[in-house]
């Protein structure tokens, strides 16, 4: 049912475009560093809970999550972009099932996000976190899971949007609450319950939590809050539902 060569070339195209747009490359690399170095080091002086985890260390999993969030959501802008500039039609009239396009976009969004997340992990040793080879591999897997979940969510939203303006409005409306409710900047336990419920349905919460398992081992207040298996199950189930929905949405749209 799938055309692997078609998926391959869709992914190749997204990568080619990504590395060709220098400004996008610089922005996506600079944003997390700004957060980490400026926000992180500022609050490190302010916050010390005595658990031995510095704030700059605490937010690394969250900033990795943010990088993946931005990169995954904005990779799906290419669907709207392709629609606006007509290129989507070139794909729609090709003798491949529509689902091929969905998977091409999912895989490229995921891969680009993991790539950026992995690049960010290079700073871990410089802020005093040890990251072994197996930890790094585990992070790659967990980042791929989280990135897949968020790309599939973005793809579902993008499949209903026809203009870039609409995309920017809606995505910014989705991105910021998702980021602030994810436990990236403070533990979820400090939030009042009526806000925390939204964190419980936020896939990024589970993604960031799974990163904390690897990057901040231990049991302090600033460590992971859910069991790792719950993180993995939630993110996986969420991905499957979103993938099916966006495939369906693509198949229906003419």
């Amino acid at each position: 049912m799938f055309s692997y060569r078609a998926i391959y070339v869709i992914v190749l195209r997204e990568f080619t475009r990504f590395f060709r747009q220098r400004s996008r490359l610089v922005v996506t690399m600079a944003r997390p560093l700004i957060w980490l170095l400026i926000v992180g080091s500022g609050f490190t002086k302010l916050i010390d809970d005595g658990s031995g985890v510095h704030y700059i260390q605490f937010i690394l999993p969250g900033i990795v999550g943010m990088t993946i969030l931005f990169s995954a959501i904005f990779s799906t802008i290419s669907v709207v972009w392709d629609r606006e500039f007509g290129f989507l039609r070139e794909m729609l009239v090709a003798p491949v099932p529509r689902v091929t396009i969905v998977f091409g976009k999912l895989i490229s969004g995921t891969a680009l996000s993991v790539f950026q997340g992995a690049a960010l992990l290079v700073v871990a040793p410089f802020i005093g976190l040890s990251l072994g080879f197996y930890d790094f591999l585990a992070m790659l897997l967990l980042m791929a899971l989280a990135a897949f979940a968020i790309t599939s969510l973005g793809l579902l939203v993008a499949s209903f949007l026809t203009s870039l303006e609409g995309f920017n409005v809606i995505m910014n409306f989705i991105i910021l609450p998702m980021f602030f409710l994810s436990g990236a900047l403070y533990p979820l336990s400090v939030l009042p319950f009526y806000i925390r419920v939204f964190s419980y349905i936020n896939p990024l919460s589970y993604g960031v939590d799974s990163f904390k398992h690897i990057l901040l081992p231990g049991t302090g207040r600033l460590s992971a809050e859910f069991p790792l298996y719950l993180d993995i199950i939630f993110v996986s189930v969420f991905s499957v539902i979103m993938t099916f929905s966006s495939a369906l949405a693509f198949e229906r749209r003419k």
Binding site: Y8, R13, R83, F85, G86, V93, A94
Partner: protein, 317 residues
């Protein structure tokens, strides 16, 4: 067997018919033209044939495959050039073509061969590795036509292929399409609202308000009008008129610059005028009826009188 078979095709948008009962057949190797004003149903019909759009009733078959039941097989039989540009500007010409080959599952060795060949055909071989965003409108169009032909489709669909091009590039594009037609030998199905462009078609269907009001060769369509007009100028027009009327039984109209004679098949009639006239001839001019005249005759309106109806309705991916 015809390569495109359409029978009683109906498509409505929210209850308003865009195509109401269109039927036609296109034979293999033809250049078949869909001529009509904006909003007449041309793009809707082409979108249905390319399986980009569903329809309400009727039958649409391309290369023996039903557009509803076998959309994938229809898609692999056709090449398509849309009204709007559908290239990726951030990629090079080669990368755009390569993308296409992979989508159509073309063998890799064959792919490079075909890409080089087709880039040569459209005169873009030297621009192979240049970003498409640096291309002019005409170059983009040529690249799109090249892309549409890469997988050797049985039918090439061209939806207003010269829209938005300047007149010079337009005529270049048509020269090019004619040349391609000779070398590649596909069937070409095209839509246009430029009368002069429709002249290159082997057959034309004139569509208006979602219905086909005439379908024939350009020659036949024009012949359906009264006929040709021959303008004759002589040294003594009054004497010439009498000669023509007595010898050939014609009624001549005296006009400012000579005589006007209405006849059928004017080109065959000119030699007889030369034979009949003793008066020295200064000039002879033949004017054939244009497709514009045909259109006016059929609809009572000029094609450019129409308000610009939306050219594409709901057919964006």
């Amino acid at each position: 067997m015809s390569i495109i078979h359409v029978n009683g095709l109906v498509k409505k948008y929210n209850g308003a018919p865009a195509v109401s009962g269109v039927s036609f057949d296109v034979e293999e190797g033809e250049i078949f033209g869909f001529l009509g004003p904006n909003g007449a149903g041309k793009t809707t019909t082409i979108s249905i044939l390319c399986t980009l759009l569903g329809f309400d009733s009727g039958e649409a078959v391309v290369n023996g495959f039903d557009c509803r039941r076998d959309p994938q097989k229809v898609r692999s039989s056709i090449g398509l050039v849309f009204q709007e540009y559908t290239l990726d500007n951030e990629l090079t010409a080669y990368e755009n073509l390569k993308f296409h080959c992979y989508l159509y599952n073309m063998e890799k060795r064959l792919m490079n061969e075909r890409i080089d060949e087709i880039l040569g055909v459209v005169g873009l071989a030297g621009r192979r590795n240049e970003l498409v965003k640096r291309f002019s409108g005409g170059m983009k169009r040529r690249l799109e036509i090249a892309r549409g032909l890469l997988h050797r489709p049985k039918v090439l669909f061209l939806d207003e292929p010269t829209l938005g091009l300047d007149p010079q590039t337009r005529s270049h594009a048509w020269e090019f399409i004619k040349k391609l037609k000779k070398s590649e030998g596909n069937t070409v199905f095209m839509t246009t609202h430029y009368m002069d462009e429709a002249e290159i078609c082997s057959r034309i269907a004139i569509i208006d308000n979602g219905r086909i009001i005439a379908c024939a060769t350009p020659e036949e369509l024009k012949r359906s009008l009264k006929g040709d007009t021959i303008y004759v100028k002589t040294t003594d027009d009054e004497k010439a008129r009498k000669e023509l009327e007595s010898k050939l039984g014609l009624t001549c109209k005296k006009i400012e610059s000579g005589l006007a004679v209405s006849v059928e098949a004017g080109e065959k009639f000119i030699p007889r005028i030369f034979e009949a006239l003793k008066t020295p001839i200064v000039s002879v001019n033949l004017k054939r009826p244009s497709l514009e005249d045909v259109f006016i005759n059929l609809t009572g309106r000029e094609i450019r009188d129409y308000p610009g109806a939306p050219g594409r309705r709901g057919i964006r991916g």
